[in-house]
């Protein structure tokens, strides 16, 4: 029997008891082969290590709240975000296939409208003299979009000057 066959049997012995014939073959071989004798020693140590540290571990029962905790996590994960929930509710208004998309767009409009309303109400409370941008698009067009239009550049410069004046 070759060393390869013996090592296969040694490995098998970790999982199942060998037959009497197989044991005899291994014993006969390792008496005359130093390499397989070493492999046998390593394999026994390996089996012992795993039985002691992992395999032999008896797992306790799951804690009683395991199922409840799991369903709580599942519910939390499946809950749609606020915007999704609004779109879901509005979808009943559109009784045709693309209703989810339309409801989503409608919900987006509603949210935007609410945002503008809040912005306007807050703007009214801005104290006099506080820095404000009358036409932010000019500043953005020049500073961000690098617009070279002379009129836009002039407007942006004037606005920037006003802003600096208010800040400083």
């Amino acid at each position: 029997m070759s060393c390869r066959d013996i090592q296969f049997l040694l490995n098998k012995r970790i999982d199942l008891p060998l037959s009497r014939e197989e044991e005899a073959l291994v014993a006969g071989h390792v008496r005359t082969c130093a390499s397989c004798a070493r492999a046998q020693k390593d394999t026994l140590a390996y089996a012992k290590l795993f039985t002691g540290a992992f395999k032999g571990t008896k797992a306790p029962a799951l804690s009683p709240s395991f199922e409840e905790d799991f369903y709580r996590r599942l519910e939390k994960e499946s809950r749609p975000p606020a915007f999704g929930a609004l779109a879901e509710k509005l979808s009943v208004l559109f009784p045709f296939p693309a209703r989810r998309a339309l409801a989503g767009a409608f919900a987006l409009l509603l949210v935007s409208f609410a945002g503008v309303r809040v912005y306007l109400s807050l703007s009214r409370d801005t104290p006099a003299g506080a820095p404000s941008v009358t036409n932010g698009t000019a500043l953005i067009a020049v500073a961000v979009d690098r617009n070279k239009n002379a009129e836009q550049q002039y407007l942006a410069e004037a606005q920037a000057r006003d802003l600096l004046k208010n800040i400083l």
Partner: protein, 187 residues
């Protein structure tokens, strides 16, 4: 198998939760970690259950998810330890503003592993890291057989290998792992 024949997810959860937990518990030896992994495994399974066509058995699929999660956790723990600064010695006394020394008191908030596991914890940690450093197809097989103690037939179903091919792969995986453990003076 079509969706009508597929068991409801609740049934899958109830049937396999203890075994999924056991695999994670054998790997980490701490109930809270194992429960967390088991829950995450079922969450991942739930997300994909609609697309699951049962070409494989449900438990095979669940174990594969669990093994991957265990490997992820081993990787993350190893990475976190690598970056953890060593700040102080627990034996070093604390000194107050006036220079008086007093013994340092540290609350141990860790969940304790079962006592029989505790003495092995350092070794277990090194073994887990050595397993994780193997190529995925070998570490998976070691985790299922040598940690999870699953029978050959189940591992063959999980991995899609024949029992003979599984034996060959297991032999290779164990030989590679033995070398790594010898290098760390564990074997």
């Amino acid at each position: 198998m079509d969706d009508e024949k597929k068991p409801p997810f609740e049934q899958v959860f109830r049937r396999h939760r203890q075994r999924v937990f056991e695999l994670a518990y054998r790997t980490f030896g701490v109930v809270s970690d194992a429960e967390d992994i088991a829950q995450e495994a079922f969450l991942r399974a739930y997300r994909a259950y609609g697309a699951f066509r049962q070409e494989a058995e449900v438990y095979s699929w669940l174990y594969r998810i669990t093994v991957n999660l265990c490997r992820e956790k081993i990787r993350k723990t190893a990475a976190a330890r690598k970056h953890m600064p060593v700040v102080m010695s627990v034996d070093q006394p604390v000194t107050d503003d006036e220079g008086n020394a007093a013994p340092r008191e540290i609350a141990d908030t860790r969940e304790t592993a079962a006592p029989h596991l505790l003495e092995n914890e350092e070794v277990r940690d090194m073994v887990r890291k050595a397993i994780e450093s193997l190529p995925a197809k070998y570490s998976e097989i070691i985790m299922l057989r040598d940690i999870g103690d699953l029978p050959f037939e189940e591992i063959a179903a999980i991995t899609g290998l024949s029992v003979n091919a599984l034996g060959v792969r297991l032999l290779r995986a164990r030989n590679m792992l033995k070398e790594k453990l010898k290098n760390k003076n564990i074997l």
